[in-house]
Point group: C2
Chain length 229, copies 2
């Protein structure tokens, strides 16, 4: 178990979504770990290991892992080893490019459907993000940040684009967690207020700029911290 963050060692599968298939529940459990820092980049997972840990047979784990490999959240090496991919400068740059190209657009498309109630919910999430940042709660910050962005993007009703963005997030999740674990979260700035203001004003251009700025600030922080410096 060494090399893995202990924060989200979920243990046996949560039975909350009891009606889904085992494969689906395993997939979601692994996905959460990847997204919010349960795995460290380079960590190698085994089918039987995960199966025993989650209390299921290796079969559904196999399918879930295959699925995550297809989404580029896991990596299958030639030597038959499955690992959480490491970050490289080139890959990081491509992720930033894709995020800038797609996410502001998703936000703008979602704007007509983001009513007052939705904005209030976003503010609540943002409050939790600020708290987590202050307290250095890396996982809490990442959960909140993910929730904030996805709560917007989901309203765009653009499932095809959203799937691409989701896959991208899976690819920098473990790396992001690594950086926060190493450098803390207290140096982060809350860039969501500009987005919320633009949302209230119905200012599409402002929202696009705010989301782009949020992406750039956040990615620059973890990029400089871990790749350049």
């Amino acid at each position: 178990m060494a090399g893995q963050f202990s924060a989200t060692a979920t243990g046996p599968l949560s039975e909350e979504d009891g009606e889904a298939t085992v494969h689906e529940r395993v997939y979601r459990a692994l996905r959460e770990r990847i997204l919010f820092g349960g795995f460290r980049p380079g960590f190698s997972v085994t089918l039987r290991g995960l199966a025993e840990e989650l209390g299921v047979s290796p079969m559904p784990v196999r399918e879930a892992v295959r699925r995550l490999i297809a989404e580029r959240a896991l990596e299958l090496h030639g030597n038959r080893r499955v690992t959480v991919p490491a970050m490289t400068a080139a890959k990081f740059e491509q992720i930033v490019f894709a995020r800038r190209a797609l996410e502001p657009e998703l936000a703008v498309r979602a704007m007509p459907r983001l009513d007052t109630q939705a904005i209030t919910r976003l503010e609540t999430i943002d409050d939790r993000i600020d708290t987590a940042m202050r307290e250095g709660d890396a996982e809490g910050y990442m959960r909140g940040n993910h929730q904030f962005h996805m709560a917007i993007y989901e309203r765009a009703e653009a499932a095809t684009l959203l799937a691409v963005v989701t896959s991208i997030w899976l690819q920098f999740g473990p790396f992001m967690r690594l950086v926060y674990g190493r450098f803390g979260t207290s140096d982060l700035q809350d860039q969501h207020m500009l987005a919320l203001a633009a949302l209230k004003d119905g200012d599409a251009g402002g929202l696009r700029a705010a989301i782009e700025e949020d992406i750039m600030q956040g990615m620059r922080f973890i990029g400089e911290a871990a790749l350049a410096g």
Copy 2:
């Protein structure tokens, strides 16, 4: 077998890549069919059916299908039916947006590595595309077009972005084939010459515009033909 195009009823698995795993060969076979028109949108596939057709056990087919579902090339319905996804106007629009956002960029990034030899090869491919277009060979046209674009994009050495684009292509392949089957290919125009010219001139802006124009023209044709009209 009804509801499926007969053009690429590949039969048993080709043994050319004999060293790859069965899963990998099945994956590539299915992927080819999806990309170049072996399946019609809405066609439903069965694990055992594909397994028997390809001469393998259902197991590797299961993994390949799961993988293609993750790439949004296949669709898993609640009733446990696996189908080739149908196209909708909204999905089509998102595909066009993603292609415009990513593919011209990939082309520009590839330009420094596209030497005279590579350009010559592109011209050869383009000749074959023209021939296929004239002869109404829909599958040949699609294979050539795919080859032309990918031969460029691969040189960008941007695996992360390329994976996104590849997934996108898988999502409109069956639909594209359907349109060409219905309306023919003779009304198509070759938009690749502008790209080749820009490539020879080392004109990055021109290349970006040419690729974008190529995408727009091609997608407008199949979009108008099948969705609006």
